[in-house]
């Protein structure tokens, strides 16, 4: 399988890259890890006239802590996240999800920002970011925009990123010492898309009540789905098994999975409930400092 012909550009400065995007944005695709884009090009589902390879741009490959955020540069690979001690300490949902993204070899090349920008409705990262809260940084020759991930993710394969813009980083909220999170994923085999994925995140207040909660679902709706109703239910409540069950019922009802080779809609809906409950329970354990 071969992609159709394309021009290849590999600038070495960000300014140069943004200049190229400003000039021919709609006719160009950004190539980061390429682990989704290249297979799509080989299947001719994507036929970009040109590729802008950003792998030679400097300073985009770091995970940094700043102002209550964890910042992932555009060239941070999934495996970098898996191995990062900072991530393990600072965001439990991200840490739990990273080892589940695709397979170990794909994780060596694929990037967090690339996955978000591609916005496959079955991708894991958008759910993680929706549950914990994150901002996407978009740069162009016009300047910089910082967009909440919930706005950034418009619909399947659609984001707010304009053709002249580059996703340069994503800023994910850190968990506090009273925070916890989890990612539960069911997959048929390593490297397959999720049959069901559930991202959860909890922050407790000084009295042990839930200060804020995040729940988002993968692969059970036309796009990654933030379950706002369940998040609101949990807020300002004392955490309990019954409360988590209630949240799980809401998540189950909110999803709209398709019956396919990965399972029937009823089965997936059931798993959403089980995983929501399990994920919230695990998030609470971490938030209460039981296990981390």
């Amino acid at each position: 399988m071969y992609p159709s012909k394309f021009d290849y550009l590999a600038p070495t400065t960000l300014d140069e890259a943004l200049g190229v995007l400003a000039e021919k944005g709609p006719a160009i695709k950004v190539l980061a890890g390429g682990q989704s884009l290249i297979p799509m090009m080989k299947l001719r589902l994507a036929n970009p006239p040109a590729l802008l390879d950003i792998n030679r741009l400097p300073d985009l490959d770091a995970i940094e802590e700043s102002n209550g955020h964890l910042t992932f540069g555009a060239l941070v690979r999934h495996n970098h996240v898996v191995k990062s001690d900072v991530v393990k300490r600072a965001n439990h949902t991200v840490a739990a999800a990273a080892p589940w993204v695709s397979d170990p070899i794909v994780r060596n090349l694929g990037t967090v920002c690339g996955s978000l920008a591609h916005h496959d409705p079955e991708g894991d990262w958008a759910s993680v970011m929706m549950a914990t809260g994150a901002d996407v940084v978009l740069k162009s020759t016009q300047g910089e925009r910082v967009v909440p991930v919930t706005d950034f993710c418009v619909d399947m394969f659609q984001t707010l990123c304009r053709p002249d813009e580059l996703v340069t980083e994503v800023r994910v909220k850190k968990h506090s010492a009273r925070g916890g999170g989890d990612y539960q994923k069911l997959e048929r085999k390593v490297g397959d898309y999720a049959t069901v994925g559930v991202a959860t995140s909890l922050e407790l207040d000084e009295h042990g009540r839930i200060a804020s909660a995040g729940i988002a679902l993968t692969s059970v709706y036309a796009h990654n789905l933030k379950v706002t109703e369940a998040e609101i239910l949990l807020r300002a409540k004392q955490p309990s098994a019954e409360l988590f069950k209630e949240a799980a019922v809401i998540a189950s009802a909110a999803c709209d999975p398709a019956s396919d080779h990965r399972g029937s809609a009823a089965y997936k809906r059931h798993i959403v409930g089980v995983f929501t409950e399990r994920g919230l329970t695990r998030s609470l354990e971490i938030a209460q400092g039981g296990q981390s």
């Binding site: 290849y8 297979p39 080989k42 390879d53 792998n55 695709s102 397979d103 170990p104 070899i105 390593v190």
Partner: protein
């Protein structure tokens, strides 16, 4: 476009179309056919090579992307004309049946042992979880990688 790579220690360059996949550059242009092509859709892992020491699926990267970088294929594993520990271990532990997935398994095993010289069986299985063996000979593949780890630690302590 001109692409120049260090492959198994030797610098090679060629003029290629941007859409040429790294697998075909290695197999066709450079004539190193030890790197296999399986699914061609980034699922099976048999086309894995080491890119600056890190496993990458060569069917899912363009040759132009690796300009200036260093690649190791199965042909580059031997050391001074001798089988490397991982090759020796696959031979001794019967780590292959049809042999199609073997080059990639040995490269992934090599990269694993560089990073983690004494892996547990679970860690080995985790490391090779992106590589399919259609003969399902995983037991002996895990055994082989563990045997190579033992050989290497003997080398170090000797």
């Amino acid at each position: 476009m001109n692409v120049s790579v260090t492959i198994n220690g030797a610098v090679r360059s060629a003029d290629v179309e941007p859409r040429m996949l790294l697998t075909d550059f290695i197999r066709g242009t450079l004539g190193l056919t030890g790197t296999h092509v399986g699914c061609d859709t980034s699922s099976c892992g048999v086309c894995t090579v080491l890119l600056d020491g890190v496993p990458a699926k060569s069917c899912t990267i363009f040759a132009v992307q690796v300009d200036g970088r260093s690649i190791t294929t199965v042909e580059g594993l031997k050391q001074n004309g001798q089988l490397s520990p991982i090759q020796q271990a696959f031979h001794e532990e019967h780590g292959l049946q049809c042999g199609f997935c073997t080059p990639a398994m040995m490269l992934v095993g090599t990269a694993l042992l560089e990073e983690n010289p004494n892996p547990t069986d679970d860690e080995v299985r985790w490391a090779i979880s992106g590589n399919l063996c259609r003969c399902t000979g995983y037991m002996n593949i895990v055994k082989s990688i563990q045997a190579a780890a033992a050989m290497k630690s003997e080398e170090v302590s000797a």
